[in-house]
């Protein structure tokens, strides 16, 4: 395989104009991976009126944003979102594409991987670029995708040696959130979106959201107890 791309892409998940934490965490990780590949980190931002999200991504290391805005794209829907990514990936063939392992990421990434015939590894706990030998073949600067499997009883390192595009999903809170001290220069490439009749095959009738009341990730101390404690009031701090 010749002339592999050195671009790393992160799909930025958003709701009501706010980027998901996991997407920003992935930008921080993607920045390191892109650095090792000597390539750019690009954020793919899809939605309605999401330019401010695009601006946010430069604080976390994006070098360029691929921005797709349309009123039909306000809420995530599998068919239009996957069509956009399929077209972009087939056109630009990035080396790595990262998604949050959220309900959206786990709905979208496999559909895109299938369409673009890319390798996809779910729920990675670690991502690393390294050169390895696989079945006697030198694989230079390949993405090592490390994840638990078999109900957590094994830790597997997955690679995609023969494909141009390597994809992975990562859960929220796994990668460290580390904004840049000086944000990157802004570079936004707007890409047009043409609605398609197939977009209406699945319509959203209603949505209900309840924000997490307890923010475990932001808590300085977490105290956990087993079933043997019996009651919750034993946790009362003195």
């Amino acid at each position: 395989m010749q002339n592999l791309s050195n671009e790393v892409w992160v799909f930025i998940e958003q709701r009501n104009g706010k980027p998901a934490d996991v997407s920003l965490e992935l930008l921080c990780k993607g920045r390191k991976l892109a650095g090792q590949l000597h390539g750019p980190l690009k954020a793919v931002v899809i939605g309605e009126d999401v330019k401010s999200i695009a601006a946010d991504t430069f604080k976390y290391g994006a070098n360029e944003v691929l921005l797709i805005q349309h009123k039909e794209l306000k809420n995530y829907r599998t068919l239009p979102y996957s069509r956009i990514l399929n077209d972009l990936i087939i056109k630009f063939s990035p080396r790595i594409v990262l998604f949050g392992a959220t309900v959206i990421g786990r709905d979208l990434a496999p559909r895109v991987a299938s369409n673009t015939k890319s390798g996809l590894t779910a729920d990675c706990t670690e991502l690393r670029i390294d050169s390895i030998t696989y079945l006697g073949k030198e694989c230079k600067d390949i993405l090592l995708q490390i994840r638990p499997a078999f109900g957590g009883n094994i830790i597997a390192t997955i690679i995609t040696p023969d494909n141009p595009v390597q994809m992975a999903t990562v859960r929220e809170g796994v990668m460290e959130l580390a904004p840049l001290e000086v944000p990157n220069k802004t570079k936004i490439t707007e890409i047009s979106f043409l609605p398609d009749p197939t977009d209406a095959l699945v319509e959203i009738i209603e949505q209900f959201h309840q924000e997490n009341i307890v923010n475990l990730k932001g808590a300085p101390v977490i105290i956990a107890g087993g079933y043997g404690l019996g009651r919750t009031n034993v946790f009362t701090a003195e």
Binding site: R111, A122, N153, E203, F208, H209
Partner: protein
């Protein structure tokens, strides 16, 4: 009338690791884990059966796996499936989700005539949740993942409640559609005793071949005919039956490869046995006080 095809998988029971499957070094001996029916797939079958009961239609269960995966197909028959298919071929071995979804989508095309494809959200061995959406993509039909309730079906559209991060949404999808379900969607019904009696003798091609092995009085073809007549033959679809592209199956068709596997060591520390006697307890208390754990 709505016909459903349900994707089911036999998985190693990774949730209940007992001492019996542990190796001496504290790692799990994966080949010794009992094989079970992936629970969320059973929930998917239950939903398909409920659709059939309410609206009429046919329920077909299919699995891709080794011959012994016919165990869970028999269980599908016990629950109420009308027909089952085992998709099995040595050339399918080592498939990742992309190669698996290719084989499944071709099998679904071969079976045809469906309104719904149901499957569990994910299987407990890989937990990837990828095969559903990848199959939907190859069939070029819409998908609804994380479904937790079918609200209604009318005019060739299904209204569903599905889980999303931090809430849920109601969606309406045109048929045919692929739906993956979470465990809250339904409680799988117990096996019907009548159906167990009727189908416990259901056999796949491999099962019948085993019967004829070393018995010159039995012929596989005759047995297949006989079992089919009695509605007890579990049809097997192989690579040739499905006219598949060999380069897209098994290890060859899988872009992802396992480079390395490290077993998680579940070994405990040193153990001391305490006799359940007054003296034993006394020794335990002394020991705990000595270590400043007590007192």
């Amino acid at each position: 009338m709505y016909n459903s095809i349900v994707l089911v998988k036999q998985v190693p029971d990774t949730a209940n690791i007992s001492g019996k499957v542990m190796k001496e070094d504290g790692t799990v001996n994966r080949s010794k884990l009992p094989a079970i029916f992936n629970h969320e797939d059973k929930v998917a079958l239950e939903l398909a059966l409920q659709v059939k009961e309410k609206y009429g239609g046919k329920v077909t269960a299919i699995t891709m796996g080794p011959p012994r995966a016919s165990d869970i197909l028999r269980e599908c028959l016990y629950m109420g499936a009308d027909e089952v298919f085992l998709i099995s071929d040595r050339k399918f071995a080592g498939a990742d989700t992309l190669a698996t979804s290719y084989v499944l989508s071709e099998a679904i095309n071969k079976i045809g005539n469906y309104h719904f494809i149901f499957g569990g959200r994910q299987a407990i061995d890989g937990d990837t949740a990828q095969v559903g959406p990848q199959t939907a993509d190859k069939l070029n039909i819409p998908q609804v993942t994380y479904a937790e309730q079918i609200i209604d079906i009318k005019k060739n559209k299904v209204t569903l409640k599905r889980k999303i991060d931090g809430g849920h949404e109601i969606v309406r999808a045109a048929l045919p559609v692929l739906i993956t379900v979470i465990k809250e969607a339904a409680d799988p019904r117990p096996f019907s005793a009548k159906r167990v009696m009727a189908y416990k003798g259901a056999k796949s091609l491999t099962d019948l071949e085993k019967l004829t092995e070393g018995n010159s009085l039995l012929y596989t073809d005759t047995l297949i005919h006989e079992y089919r007549e009695r509605n007890l033959f579990i049809s097997t679809l192989t690579m040739d039956d499905l006219e598949l592209d060999v380069d897209r199956c098994g290890v060859k068709g899988s872009p992802t490869k396992v480079h390395k596997v490290e077993s998680v060591v579940l070994a405990g520390g040193n153990q001391t046995m305490v006799e359940p006697t007054k003296d034993g307890i006394g020794t335990l208390i002394d020991k705990l006080m000595e270590d400043h754990i007590l007192g």
